[in-house]
């Protein structure tokens, strides 16, 4: 093979983690061996009580291999290493602590100890098991600060001390103080509800799908938004990267999890992206929409690292990163993600980019700026290419237009995408996520479970 051709990378850590038991007979036997059973609860905001996370999403993403090589709830030494060097105990890089946290009351009620097997139910049905290897206490506030960094320790990219206005910080701050560490195994795979079911491509399946489609190289587009034409052009043009030919595959991977008020509903996001290929703006042979379960931590460069891991595990060769990637507020430098992938961030354990350190990533970053309409070029133009004054489109302008019930022109939002937005607007009585949607979503979740 020519040295110019890029090969599909192995999963992060060298092999895909798969901890899902499909055989019900085996599963029932395992379930019977549990020492105690615990119903998974949403993590509630430490002050307001609004749901901010559900650990079931982490269990799903771990057991289906999105977070390979992570296999479970992290032990204390591993959490400490992740916070200090962003590495797991097996050396592979990883950005965030992931733990199964419970309250002191629940711990006492369960009466479990190291060596026990805890059965986890979800919506009242058997879901997974946790083989307990360690039980320890955490200080949620300290965990929250250490997870995201601070201006003194991480002066390269952190501009502002984290606080309760940051939704990721709130997630860690709202953790319960006891951690049960150990491997998870799903023993009753949940069934995704429509429309999510047709977008579920966990790493083994997405890799098979890429093979089937002959996608030698695949570039990922991270999303938690309904696509406007600017996004569509990012996808189209970023795909011209690749090796001797543009990437034949564009993977849209939507992060599905707890929503913030004002986001578009997840149902609208996935179907709106699907509309981009269904109506030929990018032909379906070249474009695939998929999901991953994760309650976004908005850790900008750290989040981009997790995104790189997820998409490498899914089999992508390239990953688009934009300015302010997965950011909220001004806690991080706008270009923190670009800095990570071009130079590294030494204080986070990266003296070089994550692709150039031992036990690092193989996926190739493609740092992108933005597209907007140029009345002189008469086209959607790239900010770093077009030398004219362009008509920039802010997200809030577009949202205002949608809220007012005015259909955006097709150079801003494709009519088929808008129709999807309106379809779910009619369903929920609101074009964006309001409090009712957020609370209901966390109660109903994206999945249902059958009896075991």
């Amino acid at each position: 093979m020519s040295g110019l051709l890029i090969e599909r990378p192995l999963p992060h850590g060298g092999r895909l983690v798969e901890r899902v038991i499909e055989d019900k007979r085996v599963a029932r036997k395992i379930w019977k061996s549990c020492n105690a059973v615990y119903e998974i609860k949403p993590t509630l905001h430490y002050e307001t009580g609004v749901p901010v996370r559900n650990v079931y999403r982490e269990i799903m993403s771990i057991c289906y291999g999105f977070f390979s090589p992570v296999e479970g709830s992290m032990k204390q030494a591993e959490v400490e290493r992740v916070l200090k060097e962003r590495r797991l105990l097996n050396e592979w890089i990883f950005p965030y602590p992931l733990v199964f946290d419970i309250s002191k009351d629940d711990l006492n009620k369960l009466g479990v100890e190291v060596g026990d097997r805890l059965g986890l139910t979800l919506k009242g049905k058997p879901f997974a098991i946790l083989d307990i290897e360690e039980i320890y206490e955490i200080d949620p506030e300290e965990l929250a600060y250490k997870t995201f960094g601070d201006p003194e320790t991480n002066p390269e990219v952190v501009q502002q001390k984290f606080d309760k206005k940051h939704p990721g910080w709130v997630i860690y701050r709202s953790h319960q103080p006891y951690v049960l560490a150990g491997k998870y195994t799903i023993i009753n795979p949940p069934k995704f509800k429509p429309p999510f079911d047709r977008f579920w491509f966990p790493p083994r399946k997405s890799r098979e799908e890429f093979e089937k489609r002959g996608w030698r190289t695949v570039i990922n587009h991270q999303t938690r938004n309904v696509p406007h034409v600017g996004h569509e052009f990012l996808m189209k043009c970023a795909a011209f990267t690749g090796d001797v030919e543009p990437c034949p595959g564009i993977l849209v991977n939507a992060v599905i999890g707890v929503k913030r008020r004002g986001d578009y509903p997840d149902e609208a996001i996935v179907e709106a992206h699907e509309a981009v290929n269904k109506y030929g703006y990018i032909k379906p042979e070249r474009h695939l929409v998929s999901i991953v379960l994760w309650d976004m931590r908005y850790g900008n460069p750290l989040e981009s690292l997790l995104h790189g891991i997820i998409r490498q595990n899914m089999g992508c060769t390239h990953h688009m990163f934009g300015r302010d990637h997965a950011a909220v507020g001004e806690y991080y430098d706008k270009f923190a993600t670009q800095i990570l992938w071009t130079k590294g961030i030494p204080s986070f354990g990266f003296p070089a980019p994550p692709t150039d350190v031992p036990y690092g990533l193989k996926i190739r970053p493609q740092n992108m700026r933005e597209f907007s309409y140029c009345p002189t070029c008469k086209e959607m133009a790239y900010s770093e290419t077009c030398g004219h004054k362009r008509e920039k489109l802010s997200g809030s302008f577009l949202r205002g237009m949608v809220a007012e019930g005015v259909q955006p022109p097709s150079i801003i939002m494709r009519p088929e995408v808008y129709r999807v937005v309106v379809k779910w607007w009619k369903q929920f009585g609101y074009p964006f996520c309001n409090e009712k949607y957020v609370i209901n979503k966390e109660k109903e979740l994206e999945v249902d479970l059958e009896d075991l």
């Binding site: 309409y373 009345p375 008469k378 008509e391 205002g400 237009m401 809220a403 007012e404 019930g405 005015v406 259909q407 955006p408 022109p409 097709s410 150079i411 801003i412 129709r419 309106v422 607007w425 009619k426 009585g429 609101y430 074009p431 309001n434 409090e435 009712k436």
Partner: protein, 117 residues
């Protein structure tokens, strides 16, 4: 500074605008694909809007933005009713301020979807 508010126009609104004589004032963005009207707002009316709606703000061009959706919908209705882009349009909106505030309070729960399909 001259103040104004932007009224966005889609096909549906264009239909309602026909015959008002306002078509010649339509401005275009995005290669002619986005049509809009600018409604004049006096200093006094601007102050009143800012005082009545806490989210409202004035951008660098003098455009008043971030008012409730109910306000923006009524703004268009008044343009059609008054067949004008003058200050009497915003006056007409503010005359219904109680009704708008009542609807605005419900806006975080419900927004009427557009009538398509």
């Amino acid at each position: 500074m001259a103040y104004f508010m932007v009224v966005l126009l889609d096909d549906n609104r264009m239909g309602k605008l026909r015959g008002t004589g306002l078509e010649e004032h339509i401005k275009y963005m995005f290669g002619g694909e986005l049509r809009l009207l600018e409604v004049e707002v006096t200093e006094e009316l601007k102050d009143k809007i800012l005082a009545e709606f806490e989210t409202a703000r004035v951008d660098s061009r003098g455009a008043i933005t971030d008012v409730p959706v109910a306000f923006m919908r009524e703004l268009f209705n008044q343009v059609v009713e008054k067949k004008s882009l003058g200050p009497e349009v915003v006056e007409g909106v503010l005359a219904k301020i109680n009704e708008i505030k009542e609807m605005a309070a419900k806006e975080s729960e419900y927004l009427p979807p557009p009538d398509i399909e």
